[in-house]
């Protein structure tokens, strides 16, 4: 990956991929809002959404129930999927940059498992949701990423496979602790279980409001560090010669990516592979600079998860397929492909 980066010259980033990205996201948003178990006329949906914008007042023709379906159930879910997907994709891209490891991903580094443990402890102890859940998830996630990194180093350098194996080990341990906590509180076991598989079922805008500030901070910090990540990709020493405070950058990037992951996990459970599928798809399609990967990653991650959620809530209606199943179904083969490529190179 490193050879394509030219940190010394400010090459302009091409605009075309962004146009495509926004177009795809727009299409995903439109499909997500227009389609669902309750069939609503597309025209009315468009008018209704326009009507919700400030200063615009049109009559959509939807009755009170249809309007509530659109606005209380479907729209928040689509927006939440977009925020979670975008945040996870940017976090995944950032982990890959900071660990200089194409296989890094919130899920595989154990970060999601750590966040899951933190959140499970809160759910099982019956103590509050919302921000408490996010903070607990963040604490667990930071513990996991520190453990993974320390274990990876102790086990011998920062080779691609070592870090991943450390991540798998840490994830297995945190998952075991999580299962134990779950067993202790068997009355909440189903709630936790449903949440482990990942879910975006939400009512109204509360979850969106909860995740939005964390997602915004995390994504903004990471995108602000896109050039630093490009420089880091060349190598630690080179980066230092170029005046990049590598240690500080690493810590800030890891914390920001972990915060984003934790917030995403707190509202939607464990949704894997977004952080690996999206950045790599962008690398293949649009280029390997983090100036492209991170901003476009948000757009692409949002589109990916919106579509995955659309499949999850329609494919076996009236039941719902957990969204984690769908992202894994797409993501695991893709991961195999990336693994093969990275070992060959």
């Amino acid at each position: 990956m490193a050879e394509a980066v030219a940190p010394l010259r400010r090459r302009t980033v091409r605009v075309a991929p962004f146009v495509w990205g926004v177009a795809v996201l727009g299409a995903a948003l439109a499909a997500g809002v227009a389609l669902g178990a309750v069939s609503l006329p597309v025209r009315a949906v468009v008018l209704e959404l326009l009507d919700r914008l400030p200063l615009i007042d049109v009559e959509s023709g939807l009755d009170a129930r249809q309007s509530a379906v659109l606005w209380q159930i479907r729209a928040p879910r689509v927006v939440l999927a977009g925020l979670v997907g975008g945040t996870l994709a940017v976090a995944g891209g950032a982990y890959q940059g900071v660990f200089r490891n194409p296989l890094a991903d919130p899920y595989l580094l154990g970060v999601a498992a750590g966040a899951g443990l933190g959140a499970t402890v809160v759910i099982a102890s019956g103590g509050g949701g919302g921000a408490v859940l996010t903070v607990a998830a963040f604490v667990g996630a930071v513990a996991a990423v520190v453990a993974t990194y320390a274990l990876g180093r102790a086990a011998g350098g920062r080779s691609t496979a070592t870090l991943l194996l450390a991540g798998v080990t840490v994830a297995a341990f945190f998952t075991a602790v999580q299962t134990f906590v779950q067993q202790l509180a068997s009355d909440t076991i189903r709630e936790v279980f449903a949440w482990i598989l990942g879910r975006l079922a939400t009512v109204g805008w509360a979850d969106v409001r909860l995740v939005l500030p964390f997602a915004a901070i995390s994504t903004a910090v990471l995108i602000a560090h896109r050039r630093h990540l490009d420089v880091l990709a060349v190598g630690e020493e080179e980066a230092q010669t170029l005046g990049v405070p590598t240690t500080r950058v690493r810590i800030v990037v890891v914390l920001a990516a972990t915060l984003g992951t934790a917030a995403a996990v707190a509202v939607s459970g464990l949704i894997g592979f977004v952080g690996i599928v999206v950045p790599h798809a962008i690398r293949l399609a649009a280029g390997t600079s983090y100036r492209i990967i991170l901003p476009l990653g948000f757009v692409g991650g949002a589109a990916f998860l919106i579509v995955a959620d659309l499949v999850s809530r329609t494919i076996i209606a009236p039941a719902e397929l957990p969204i984690g199943v769908i992202t894994a179904f797409v993501g695991a083969p893709f991961f195999g492909f990336i693994l093969r490529r990275s070992i060959q190179s």
């Binding site: 309750v38 400030p54 009170a64 209606a317």
Partner: protein, 330 residues
């Protein structure tokens, strides 16, 4: 480009936050009446108000919070087999159109729509256009989604006693316009249960037993669970009561060793696919005196033994008959 995206996101969010309250549960006013408050109502007075049904609207409170049922529901989705049984028993069967995948009693329920209640999609339920939804489990917060679109939802988990079951029956009665039928059913159940207990005349007191629901991990109801409370009411001694249940789940996990060591006088099998033979074939279990030729094993109907509906009477009767058999072998 990024600025454009930001503007887009901000606009969406602003719209989301701004109009949350206005989209709250369906108001009763028709959409075209926004300009006309009560004063311009002469047009309305010419049309007759809807016939007021006795008992409606009714406000019901369950684990899903408070819901208002405006008129007698005619299209109920009862997404748990136990609620289907309760509704049929109070004569509200005609008002039910859907049950869950386990729904199989009474036989008339064959024709109901069967819905997988474990991973419900809120929109899909709304699309079926129910006028009352009864749930026993709701991790995805479907009840809140239903409330948001003005469909009343009731959420009730497993009760820990007979009284809890009676309360659920009465609540379903009140919600469906069958209050008196529900009260009658509860009276009948109380009478039947009293009769069974009287007839047993304390014979069950002190008998030790094991009630098997889980042949794999041996999670076993103790006396603080619903089914365990029935045995406890007869004065029977549950071996699971000696097992630690720190978290008050009502279902402590036993081990095969623990069960063999306890050597209960009677065994009740409430798990499907198990029998005296399969139990005796487990390593070490042939030592259990209840599994010997002169021992007493009672095969319970797993559905009846796991539902807290009107057939609880049948369950208690089966237990009582088992106890009688146990005495005959003494």
């Amino acid at each position: 480009m990024r600025r454009l995206l930001l503007v887009l996101v901000l606009a969406l969010v602003a719209a989301a936050c701004g109009s949350d309250e206005s989209a709250a549960p369906a108001t009763t006013a028709p959409p075209d009446s926004t300009t006309a408050p009560a004063t311009t109502a002469p047009a309305d007075s010419t049309t007759l108000p809807p016939l007021q049904e006795p008992g409606f609207p009714v406000t019901i409170t369950s684990d899903a919070g408070t819901a208002t049922v405006e008129r007698r529901p005619e299209r109920i989705a009862a997404l748990s087999s136990v609620f289907v049984e309760m509704l049929y028993a109070i004569g509200a069967g005609d008002q039910v159109f859907a049950g869950d995948l386990f729904t199989n009693y009474p036989p008339e329920t064959d024709s109901l729509e069967k819905i997988d209640s474990f991973n419900l999609n809120a929109e899909a339920i709304i699309e079926l256009d129910p006028d009352l939804v009864v749930l026993s489990f709701d991790p995805g917060d479907v009840a809140a989604s239903l409330e948001a679109v003005g469909i009343p939802a009731v959420l009730m988990g497993t009760p820990s006693s007979l009284n809890g079951a009676y309360e659920q029956i009465q609540l379903l009665g009140d919600a469906t316009g069958r209050s008196s039928e529900a009260a009658e059913l509860i009276d009948q159940m109380r009478t039947d249960i009293k009769e069974i207990v009287n007839e047993l005349d304390g014979k069950a007191r002190g008998i030790t037993f094991y009630h098997e629901t889980d042949p794999f991990d041996f999670y076993t109801p103790n006396s603080s669970s619903f089914v365990g409370a029935l045995y406890a009411a007869l004065g029977m001694e549950n071996i699971a009561d000696a097992a630690p249940d720190e978290f008050n789940s009502g279902f402590p996990q036993l081990s095969p060793e623990f069960i063999v060591e306890a050597n209960p006088q009677m065994i009740f099998i409430a798990s499907s696919g198990e029998s005296v033979e399969t139990m005796a074939a487990r390593p070490g279990w042939d030592q259990l005196s209840a599994l010997r030729a002169d021992g007493t094993v009672v095969l319970l109907n797993p559905d009846v033994a796991s539902r807290w509906g009107p057939r609880v009477v049948d369950l208690l009767r089966a237990i009582a008959q088992g106890v009688e058999r146990f005495y005959e072998t003494l």
